[in-house]
Amino acid sequence: MAELKFHIYPIESGFHGPKRPTPSPDLIAKYNYANFKPFKNSKQNSDEYIATAAKEIRRDIIRSLVEAKSGHSGGPLGISDVMATLYFGGVMRYDPKQPWMESRDRFVLSAGHMAPVLYATLANAGFMEKKELLTLRKLNSRLQGHPGRDMGLPGIETSTGSLGQGMGIAVGMALADKYVSKNDHRVYCITGDGELQEGEIWEAAMFASHWKLDNLCVLVDRNHCQIDGRNPDVMEVDPVADKWKAFGFHTIHINGHSIPEIRAAYAEANSVKEKPTCIVAETYMGHPISFMNDDYRWHGKPPNKEQAEKALAELE
């Protein structure tokens, strides 16, 4: 029997004009983006190395947002430690030189509005030149406001942005891997906690546990915030871990700013059999920027110039 082969990656069917935007040389110089060396991904990397990467990711989030003049600061900053651990702690298998290699692990950012942290992480891992971060949200940029697969950016497995959808896609990838391709790729998915209000999350959770997708690891960015306020003021999602447990997940509750805890949780998830895992990672929105930390009003705002300088200074 044959396989119906088709072209999956990279696609570039997206809307675009004649050419991609290019950041000004001044800007590239300002951030010293020309001389950048990607971080390495290895289980051997120390917690300090990962923390350094996390800090650089955060700096890049600030830089790209201040230049974009719109976009989401809070969630991306809050989840940077998790992203750094995933990509630089040897958790995920990937090769920026062969971004679409068959044997890669998959990453799905279900909370698509956190795109800036994904772009910053990919740039720091060497999936693109770092200066491209300065094109965030600009006309025809591969760095769309929410991840757009149509722009063909390596590392973007799927478009997301409509909350609750990425999780189901991640489940489909895990299903494909475990039952059809019969490989041992793992699928990593990050959702927001406000996002848990979308019923598709629970549908996908039920599906994943019914099909015993032990190659799936979901992480909930438990920052207790969403756009209109703190979760309990908008829509109570607690008890979060109990919900995932009742939906058949192995559940781990951690401090999402502790790199050792994040590493341990992913290692534990790796060892669980016949069940998907959910890591509930307690984070602070906007962490650790003094004037953003744990403040829901930073969900969807970029820093202005002054604020960006202050934030970058804090991230020295």
Binding site: G14, F15, H16, G17, A68, S70, G71, G112, R137, K138, L139, N140, S141, L143, Q144, G145, H146, G148, D150, M151, S159, T160, G161, S162, L163, G164, G194, E195, Q197, E198, G199, Q226, I227, D228, D233, V234, M235
Partner: protein, 338 residues
């Protein structure tokens, strides 16, 4: 129980124009979403059973205005557009007049089955506000730029669909759908767009309004494209083409009489909308024309593609949602007249 007095204007034959010759001038810029927000407050002041459901972007779709004034009648529904629509249905079936608003991408597409079965098949008195419509949302990109919901909502039986052209009309339209009984959807935008109608500019649910007289071509537009149409008409006039501009603020039910008169008197139509050219306002007019009075027509809108990030103005230009494209379309369609 009584029935309200307000219903949609029947599609009775009308004089081809309503006799009004409003001279429009730019009065400033303000997003239609603010009109929606203010309209809700007016409704809240008038009627104690008007209630609002928040969808975790209340500060963007301006339901926050209502929340501030009437906290007891505002209910946060978190991020669950499908269920918010169902809760609204339950409220409506209990005699309340519920509004639920979110991005149109989620207030028309995430809950389509709910709109079909629970709202429209029930004929429940639910009002949906679909904000951030079209690509003028800008940098958020394609996922948040809904260009398909005119098609979706106008296909549902029992639904009323309104797309106001500016801030002032958005306010009137919001009040109008609140006072009208039946399922209704109102589409509005995020970006500041020209304000040009006034308190006394005619507005009536179910009626298209002739905003500019002319007999060479009729430009039928909705939303912010109405202003673009007016601008285009002035340019066209310089070249000797006298364009009628019709503000089709109610897309369902369509004001057949006004549109047929336009077809008869102008012999050529251009539609202009911040929406796919598939099945939207243009589609509705095309269906009417071939049934009643076939004349050449051109479609201004997005040509069956998704949007992307960029500044609103850049995007509108790139996707051809400007007076420039309308002018081209008008010239083309005039040439096609036989």
């Amino acid at each position: 129980m009584e029935t309200t007095t307000k219903t949609i204007a029947n599609n009775e034959p009308l004089a081809s124009t309503n006799g009004m010759k409003p001279k429009f001038e730019l009065l400033g810029k303000k997003a239609t979403r603010f009109g929606f927000g203010e309209g809700l407050v007016t409704l809240g002041e008038r009627y104690e059973n008007v209630v609002v459901l928040g969808g975790d972007i209340t500060g963007s779709v301006m339901t926050s205005y209502f929340q501030e004034k009437f906290p007891d009648r505002f209910f946060s529904a978190g991020i669950m557009e499908a269920t918010a629509t169902l809760v609204a249905t339950g409220l409506a079936l209990s005699g309340k007049v519920p509004f639920f608003a979110s991005y149109g991408a989620f207030a028309a597409c995430r809950n389509t089955d709910m709109l079909r079965i629970s709202v429209c098949y029930n004929d429940a008195n639910v009002k949906i506000g679909g904000g951030h419509a079209g690509i003028s949302v800008g940098p958020d990109g394609a996922t948040h730029q809904v260009l398909e919901e005119i098609a979706i909502t106008r296909t549902l039986p029992n639904m009323t669909l309104v797309v106001p052209c500016d801030f002032t009309e958005a306010k009137k339209a919001t009040v109008a759908i609140g006072e009208f009984v039946g399922p209704a959807y109102i589409r509005f935008g995020r970006t500041d767009t020209p304000m040009f109608t006034k308190e006394d500019t005619p507005f009536e649910l179910g009626r298209a309004q002739v905003f500019r007289e002319g007999n060479d071509v009729a430009i039928c537009a909705c939303g912010p494209m109405v202003w673009e149409a007016l601008v285009a008409a002035e340019e066209l006039a310089k070249e000797g083409i006298d364009a009628r501009v019709i503000n089709v603020s109610t897309i369902k039910p369509l004001d057949n009489a006004t549109l047929i008169a336009a077809a008869k008197e102008c012999g050529a139509i251009v539609s202009a909308e911040e929406h796919q050219i598939t099945a939207g306002l243009g589609g509705a007019i095309a269906e009417l024309l071939v049934k009643e009075y076939p004349v050449p027509m051109e479609f201004v809108g997005v040509h069956d593609t998704f949007g992307g990030s960029g500044e609103p103005d850049e995007l509108m230009a790139l996707f051809g949602l400007t007076s420039v494209t309308i002018i081209e379309a008008a010239k083309k369609v005039v040439k096609r007249k036989s």
